[in-house]
Structures are given as C-alpha cells and as structure tokens.
C-alpha cells in the first residue's frame, strides 16, 4: 500500500487553517486537510463535529471566513458549487437525485449531450460515452435504462460516473453506505478502489468505523469544529479512532449485561402477511435482547409493523404478556405493553413540527388525563422526566423536535416509548445515522432495560450491533425466518450465511 509521504506527490486539494462561523456558532476552527491523488481519506467525527461544513467548504457551497483552499498547491476561491465542479471536485451524496424518467446516459450528460448537425442530440455518442464510463468503473449498468427503479446503490454509481464525466479528480462521498446492503457496499468499495488506482483522491465519510478501516488509508478527525489529527490508519484500532472522535475513552460500545431470561413476553405464532412475510414464529423473553437480522427487504421491518398493528396480518397470532393482540390495532398493542421505535424517525417516530414535550406526550394521551381533559402539568413533568433521563440535549422542552440533532431526535422517540412503561420494546434500526457517542448511550439504555425485565426485539442492519447486543439472533431471508442463532454461535459468517440463504438452519 502506498502512503503519501512528505517527499511523495503534492496534495491535489488542501485546506489550510480554515475557520467558518455561523452567527455565534463556530462550525470550523483552524482546520487543515490534505488530499493526495490515489488515496482514500476518511473524515471522522461525531454528529456536529463540523464534517458537513467542511464538505460544503470543499464543494464551494460555503466560503471560509479565514484560511485557504489550495488546488494543486495554488490558492483558489470557489464562488459556488459550479466553480468547485469545474476544478474537478465532485460530491456524492447519500441519496442522489436523478431524473427518474430519463435514461442513465441522459442523466449523466444532462444539459451537455453530444450534438449532431442542427443541434440534435447524438444518442449514439451519449450511449457510448456512458458505456465507457461504466466500463471504467467496472460496473454493468445499461446506459439506456431509465433511472426510475434503480436502487440507491446504482444511483450512486450513476452519480460517480457523472462526476468522472466532468473529469473529477476529487470525490467526496458523504455517508454513501448508510442506505446500502452488504453486497452493495462491497461493490461500491470495488469502484472506489478502481478510482483510487486511477489516481483519484477520495474523501470518505461514514459512521461505520469498520468501513473506514476497510477502505481508507488515512483519517482526519474533527471534534467540536476543531482539527484533532490526520494520520495513517495502519496500526490504529477502532478504539483509538473513537477516542480521537469523542475526546475521551468511550465506555464500551456494546455494554451488554448478562441476564437470565424470564417468562415469554412476546409470542409471535405463524404470522403471515401475503407476499411480504410467511409463517414467522418466535418468542422474546423478559430480560432478553433478541436481534432480528437480515438483508434490507427480507421482511424484518414488515414483521415489526404487523406485530405492532400498523399493518394487518393475514394469518397467525401475536401475544404480549399472554394477551392476544387485535389485528391492525396499535392502540391495543400499546395497551398490552408493546412499544415500537420505528425505522424512520422523521416520518414515523416523530411529528417534526411538534414540540419535544408534545411528541413525548403523544403516547400519554390516555394517561395524562384528568376528568377527560389533558392534564398539562402531568404531561409536562412526564415529558421532562424522560427527556432528562435519556439526556436529550435541548434548549427548551417546548422547542420543536426538528431543531434537534438526529441522535437527540432518536432519544426523543425512545423517551416517548419508554414513558409508556413497555413490557416489550421493538426497536427498528435504533442507531442508524447517529454518532458513536450517542450510539453507545442507546446501547447502554437497551441493555439496562433488558436487565430491568423488558423484552427487547432489536432489528438492525448493523451486524456488529446485532452481534454485540443480542442474546439470540433471528435471521430473516426472503420473508421467512431462516435461522435462530444463540449468542455464542453468532458471528458475521453465520448470520450472513443465513441472511443470504446459504445455510439451512
């Protein structure tokens, strides 16, 4: 592996002493960064550390208050994203925006298609140029296929191809893997390696530390807007990186306590929703954390929705604490002691325009009531109580939840459900998109809840999280339960084998 050294090639893009403030908030303080051709460089830091501001500075969206951007060693000033693009800098976002009705080739060459006489678009040339780009990336995508229906992974490939068509030398990838499955991540990394070999510089952002170690050579860490370090990843451990990000020794990321499971609290029997999942049966006992693993689309979230009653099931039954649940009725599931922290906190978990107080209060509409009227005092103290217990960081409890960071929003969702005193807690992707510090807090909380006798069912696409937290792992494959693996036997290999249908359990 070649590492850029002091005597090696010059950085293609560098930031020197960049500071940027928004009002009283200092988003970046004296940050420096060097990107060399042929390297994949990780940008690490918790939510709010300044990563987004830094990316936007590189992409020409923000102009720094002080400091310099150097392109091939010469200072440049970007007046907008167009300047950055012309300088060969491209940003690939987590969720690309393509024109769904145009073909892949048309998307890539939108507004600058090769022309024939009389200004007619040369479809043949557009097609061929796109095919050449795909070949360069080592990907098999038909240039004439419409963008509609492409997976997010394929859409990212199209964006990367588009960047290459602009002769981009620097690619900034902002959490590209957040919405990808395991095999899609592998393919993306293949493309990134190809780009690196062709001499591109890649700035890679991810909350998944193992990905950083897999694909990157060097890492720059930010904390609270300040530059902490830039160094090779060789010889570093995940703990080292986390320590730089959070500025202290993180208590264990997976603080799983040992518990002796109690009685069955959630019992799912032969649950079927036609065309979605089939014949799913499992139990979760008091004190247990059961992981529900599987590929995206395997039907995990759908099972959780049906159990909670947001969707109806076609056959089977669900019992919570011995009480049979009504099909399609979340209110009876709640009354029986079931809580669901849903997958999409912005659309499902929270009413974004409502205050923290009222969002937590939504699950208490039956309890914080006096003589048929809302007991506002009781509602406020219930909400405050749980917001404080979960250490939600907010200015005022009456602030709307859309003013909070992702991690704090997730804590509000948890607060909202823990306030109901659930016997069974289903959490769907409980730590997606939240920083490592908050992640550890959520894990500690789940572990404590289990120790207190709550039955926890945890759906997660984050394998280390499943392996680190679950007493047992259920694996779904194509709508069916493919395997049940005890904690002692659960490894990435056994879980992935079951998830991809390679093992009969």
């Amino acid at each position: 592996m070649t590492h850029p050294s002091d005597t090696g090639p010059a950085p293609v893009l560098a930031l020197k002493g960049i500071s940027k403030s928004f009002g009283a908030v200092r988003a970046l303080r004296d940050v420096s960064l060097e990107l060399f051709p042929g390297e994949v460089h990780a940008l690490a830091g918790e939510n709010g550390a300044g990563k987004s501001t830094l990316i936007k500075t590189l992409a020409g969206v923000h102009r720094p208050d002080t400091g310099q951007v150097l392109l091939d060693g010469a200072p440049v000033v970007f007046h907008g994203p167009g300047d950055a693009r012309d300088a060969g800098i491209a940003v690939i976002y987590q969720e690309p925006t393509l024109f769904p009705d145009l073909s892949i080739a048309e998307n890539i060459f939108m507004g600058r298609q090769p022309r024939k006489a009389l200004g007619r678009i040369d479809h043949r040339a557009t097609h061929d140029a796109t095919a050449a780009l795909m070949q360069r990336l080592g990907v098999d995508l038909d240039p004439d296929r419409p963008a509609r229906g492409l997976s997010i992974a394929d859409q990212q490939i199209v964006e990367i191809a588009k960047a290459l068509s602009f002769d981009a030398r620097v690619l900034i990838m902002d959490e590209p893997t957040a919405a990808l499955t395991g095999s899609e991540v592998a393919r993306l990394f293949g493309v990134v390696r190809t780009l690196r070999e062709q001499g591109a510089a890649v700035l890679f952002i991810s909350h998944r530390l193992e990905e950083i170690f897999e694909i990157c050579q060097r890492v720059t860490t930010l904390r609270d807007g300040a530059w902490i370090s830039s160094e090779p990843l060789d010889g570093m451990t995940e703990d080292d990186l986390v320590r730089r990000m959070v500025g202290r020794d993180l208590e264990e990321l997976y603080p799983k306590q040992d518990v002796t499971p109690g009685e069955v609290a959630l019992s799912v029997r032969r649950l079927t929703r036609e065309g979605v999942f089939t014949d799913v049966s499992f139990d979760v006992r008091r004190g247990e954390i059961v992981g529900l693993a599987g590929l995206v689309g395997a039907g995990r979230t759908e099972v959780a929705r049906a159990v909670f009653g947001v969707d109806r099931w076609d056959a089977g039954e669900v019992e919570v604490d011995g009480r049979r649940l009504t099909n399609g009725a979340p209110s009876t599931a709640m009354a029986a002691g079931l809580a669901l922290v849903p997958e999409d906190r912005r659309a499902q978990g929270l009413v974004m325009d409502m205050s923290i107080e009222r969002n937590i209060g939504l699950t208490g509409l039956r309890t914080t009531v006096k003589a048929g009227l809302m007991d506002r005092g009781a509602e406020r103290s219930r909400s405050l109580d749980w917001a404080v217990k979960l250490q939600v960081k907010y200015a005022r409890i009456a602030d709307t939840v859309n003013t909070l960071s992702g991690g704090n929003q997730q804590k509000v969702v948890l607060a909202k459900w823990l306030a109901t005193g659930p016997k069974v807690l289903i959490v769907d992707e409980p730590t997606r998109g939240i920083d490592v510090g908050t992640k550890a807090e959520v894990h500690r909380l789940l572990s404590q809840l289990a120790a207190d006798g709550v039955a926890v069912l945890m759906i997660s696409s984050d394998l280390p999280e499943i392996l680190g937290m679950a007493d047992r792992v259920l694996v779904m494959h194509e709508g069916r339960l493919a395997a049940e693996i005890p904690r002692t036997d659960a490894t990435e290999e056994t879980v992935m084998a079951a998830a991809t249908g390679r093992a009969a359990a």
Partner: protein, 337 residues
C-alpha cells in the same frame, strides 16, 4: 416558543385585531351599522357560518375538509319542509333532520377513511349529490309556515339588545368545541394527525376513527345549521345555504387554520368567521350586490391562504437576520457528556 406556535398566535392576533379595526371603522363610518337591530342581524346571519366552522376547524386541523356541508344543510332543510307538509310534528322532524346529517357525514367519512379517497374530491361529489337529493325531496316548493315560536326563536333577539336568542346555544357549542380541540386528548390527536398522519398512527392514535367521528360531527352540525337556516329565514327550500361552504372555508382559513393541517386555533377561526360576517353586513348596508359580495369572499379566501404564509416568511426572514444565516441547531457542535 416553537415557530409553529408563535406563527399561529401571531396570525390569531392579526385576525382578531383586524376584526376590531373593521368593527370600529364600521361603527364610526357606516350609517346604520351600530344600532342593536343591525348588530343582531349581523350575528344572526353569521351564525350559520359560525356553526359549521366549529367542526370544519377540527376537520381542517386534522388535514381533511368537507365541502358538502352547505348541501347537507340544504338537504336537511328540504326534508324539514317536506315532512312539515306531510303534517308531521316539528319536534319529530328536527331529530330526523339531524339523523340525516349524521348519515351524510357518515357517507363522507366512510368514503374517505375506508376507501382512502381524498376528502376534497369525495365531498365535491357529495356536494352535488346531497343537493340533488334535496331537490328530489322538496322540488321547487318553499315551505314557510313553521310554528311561530320556532321562527321567533331562530330570528328574534333578547328584548332590544343586539343578542339573538340563537347566539346563546351557539356560545355553548363554541365552548365545547374549544375545549374539545385545545384541552382534550382527542383534540391533541387531531393536531398530530394533521401534522403527520403516519407518525400519529405509529403513536397508537386511531386516525381513521378520529376522522370518521369528525365527518359525522360535521354532518350533524351542517344539518343543525340547515334547520336553523330554514327557521331563521322562515323558508325551507332545496337551494337553502347554497355556496355557504365557500364562506365557511374562507373564514376558517382566514382565521389561521393551516390548509395542510396541524396548525391553528379555534379562537382564530371564529374571529375569521365574524370578520367575514361583519364585512358582508357592511357591504349589504352599502348596497353592494350579492354577486360582488361573493367576489369579496373569494378574494378573502385567496388572501387567507396567502396571509399566514407571508407572515411565516417574514418571521423566517427576521429570525434569519437575528442569527445571520445560522445553520440549524442540529449542525451546531454539541458537547458530548
């Protein structure tokens, strides 16, 4: 204070202040406005709008709308007239009319909640259907000979004051509606549904049932309004209250109820109702034609949708100046504890 709340409060205040200004101007500059008789007319003529505005406010807060209310009122009046012609006792007729309103609301509600159709489309359809049924029921007759004590109650006022008898039961209904929307779990759930139906469902709120209840209540209030209308104007015709839905929706939106749901207060809506009522009264006193009054109502409807939006943009612009393009708080560095 959350942006949504401050905006609602501000717009409420704007409409309330506007109402006061219009009333003061009218008292001082419009001949014949300030006397008790005219004021009782103003209130009496505004009551049909106000009565339907109560459930309509709740409906719009929850993200739905019912445009069939005026037709339901017309149908209710037509049935009243037809049954009266049959010689039935008014004490029997009125409950029947109310049941018909409940059925009308139920049909709307079931079409919206069971079939998942948009309420705007459903109630435009039933707007036509209910009015058609009204015409079938009563034809082009006008029934006027209802018992005097009922007519007197619906059209009369307390002594020489400006207070119509009918205002008193309305105030009771208003109080009930205010409490229901702003102080009960039911009302709280309506705001949640209007702001994010999916999040409300995931919080265990019975979204469809709440909406069905609202449509039924709206039908009930529309039929009650139909009965009041026929008695107040001593005329039951199939085309009673035609176009009233326009005034109701205009008034409710004028009062700051967000058309997209989830925001607004009943106080604002009622201020909007009486603002519209006062303007209509003044225009009548000034001999403005009925057609022109409809134009004014339509313009107000457009302004009422624009108003809160402009107010919000001003608020955002102000906030922007205060913190000079500050990023959302989520982007601000947060200490890790």
């Amino acid at each position: 204070m959350p942006e949504s709340l401050t905006r609602a409060v501000r717009w409420d205040t704007v409409v309330g202040a506007l109402l006061v200004v219009v009333l003061l101007l009218s008292f001082t500059t419009v001949d014949g406005f300030g006397n008790a008789l005219n004021l009782s007319f103003l209130i009496g003529n505004t009551l049909p709008i106000a009565l339907i505005a109560l459930p309509m406010t709740l409906l719009v807060v929850s993200g739905e709308i019912d445009l069939s209310v005026a037709s339901t009122a017309g149908l209710s009046g037509a049935v009243m007239g037809a049954l009266w012609n049959q010689g039935m006792a008014i004490e029997t007729i009125i409950p029947i009319c109310l049941v018909i309103g409940v059925v009308c609301g139920l049909v709307n509600g079931l079409l919206v909640t069971r079939l998942g159709l948009p309420s705007l489309a459903v109630t435009i359809g039933t707007l036509a259907a209910y009015r058609g049924i009204a015409q079938i029921v009563l034809g082009s007759d006008a029934v006027t000979d209802f018992p005097t004590q009922y007519l007197d109650f619906a059209a009369g006022r307390i002594g020489d004051t400006f207070v119509p008898y009918a205002l008193l039961p309305f105030l009771v209904l208003l109080a009930i509606a205010v409490v229901a929307l702003h102080a009960t779990p039911f009302g709280r759930s309506l705001f949640a549904i209007g702001a994010s139906e999916e999040a409300a469902r995931f919080a265990g709120i019975r979204v469809k049932r709440q909406k069905l209840v609202l449509f039924v209540l709206t039908g009930l209030m529309a039929s009650l309004t139909g009965v009041f209308w026929a008695l107040h104007y001593a005329s039951a015709r199939y085309d009673n209250a035609t176009g009233l839905e326009l005034s109701v929706v205009a008034a409710v939106l004028l009062g700051g109820i967000d058309f997209d749901g989830g925001k607004g207060t009943l106080g604002g809506a009622i201020a909007g109702v009486f603002l519209l009522g006062a303007l209509q009264n003044v225009m009548s006193l000034q001999d403005v034609s009925a057609q022109s009054q409809i134009v004014v109502t339509g313009v107000l409807l457009v302004l009422s949708v624009l108003g809160p939006r402009v107010a919000r943009q001003i608020a955002v612009a102000r906030a922007g100046r205060r913190s000079a393009a500050a990023p959302p708080v989520s982007k601000a560095p947060t200490p890790t504890s």
